[in-house]
Symmetry: C2
Subunit: 186 residues, 2 copies
């Protein structure tokens, strides 16, 4: 009888539960605050249990980053589906907002700790996300690869500088408007 009472021996689908709990902890505490023991306890399982589903902590982080890239691509596609008047700047704003709203996840996605070499799953997820991105803005990119890379760099850099608080948003200044202005300035 594992139906009622407390804590069946087998969790059901632990892997998913771990990922969900990990995303919450990551969001709140950042990558450094995501320990396997805490995570396991949060899901109500022993410290060694996660190793049945992830080879290592790094593998768990990689899985999180992969879902991050998937969410990222989905967000971008959702915006593109609204057929905005200015697709490029709409995508840019979405890019930056995604970073700000999912700060720790975004950081993890581009964390140097998860070096793409030897982590092919992550590289594939990232490439897939950027491939859809490239496809979405494809029409506006015939200007050439250089322009596309420059736009990407600007948007990505803006996201990171905002994330790190390097770009000071002045008192009473609207962050959203500032972002729009910077993106608009080609």
């Amino acid at each position: 009888m594992s139906t009622l009472a407390n804590a069946p021996y087998h969790h059901g689908n632990l892997r998913q539960a771990l990922l969900e709990a990990a995303l919450i902890i990551l969001d709140r505490e950042g990558e450094a605050g995501l320990g396997l023991r805490d995570l396991a306890r949060a899901v109500g399982v022993s410290a060694a249990a996660p190793y049945r589903h992830f080879d290592s902590r790094a593998a768990l982080l990689e899985a999180l980053a992969v879902t991050g890239f998937q969410r990222f691509a989905a967000t971008m596609e959702a915006v593109a589906a609204t057929n905005p008047v200015d697709p490029m700047s709409a995508m840019g704003k979405t890019y930056v907002f995604f970073a700000l709203e999912n700060a720790n996840l975004f950081r993890l996605m581009f964390s140097p700790q998860l070096k793409k070499e030897g982590r092919p799953g992550l590289k594939m997820a990232a490439d897939a996300a950027f491939e859809t991105l490239r496809h979405i803005v494809g029409g506006d990119i015939r200007a050439g690869r250089i322009k596309a890379l420059a736009a990407w760099a600007k948007v990505h850099g803006l996201a990171i500088l905002l994330l790190d608080g390097q770009i000071a948003v002045r008192a009473g200044e609207d962050t959203e408007a500032l972002i729009a202005e910077i993106i608009g300035s080609l």
Copy 2:
């Protein structure tokens, strides 16, 4: 006489030696590979000795990042002193090259682990570096704050994307030329 013979009890100036050794290890192994025990052994001192000079590992990392910002500012000033024909793009290239040539140090300088809140020394060093940067390109920046931020974002983003290998440099392509092109494309 601690002159000759081996290993005087007091190191002389350990703090400096630690920083120098740490910079080397950081460059080779990255932040994750910089352990206090290894570092202490590399300098020929016990594992607890570094704590006489740094409150914690994070404080040591902060000190490294601070010197990183100082070197960064110095590099920028050195280039500016050559009175390049196109100061903005010269600074941009230097920015990106600094990141590529000091990859792990650059990553540390902008590491989310060293959140500037509660780490005022680092924030001051970063602000100082960017202040000199702003001063150097001041003449070209009257175009307005937005344009300046956009340029910064582009250069910073380019540095990071290259660092993470996200921007694929095609076979036989000259990285330096690619950087120059992207920076040039305003």
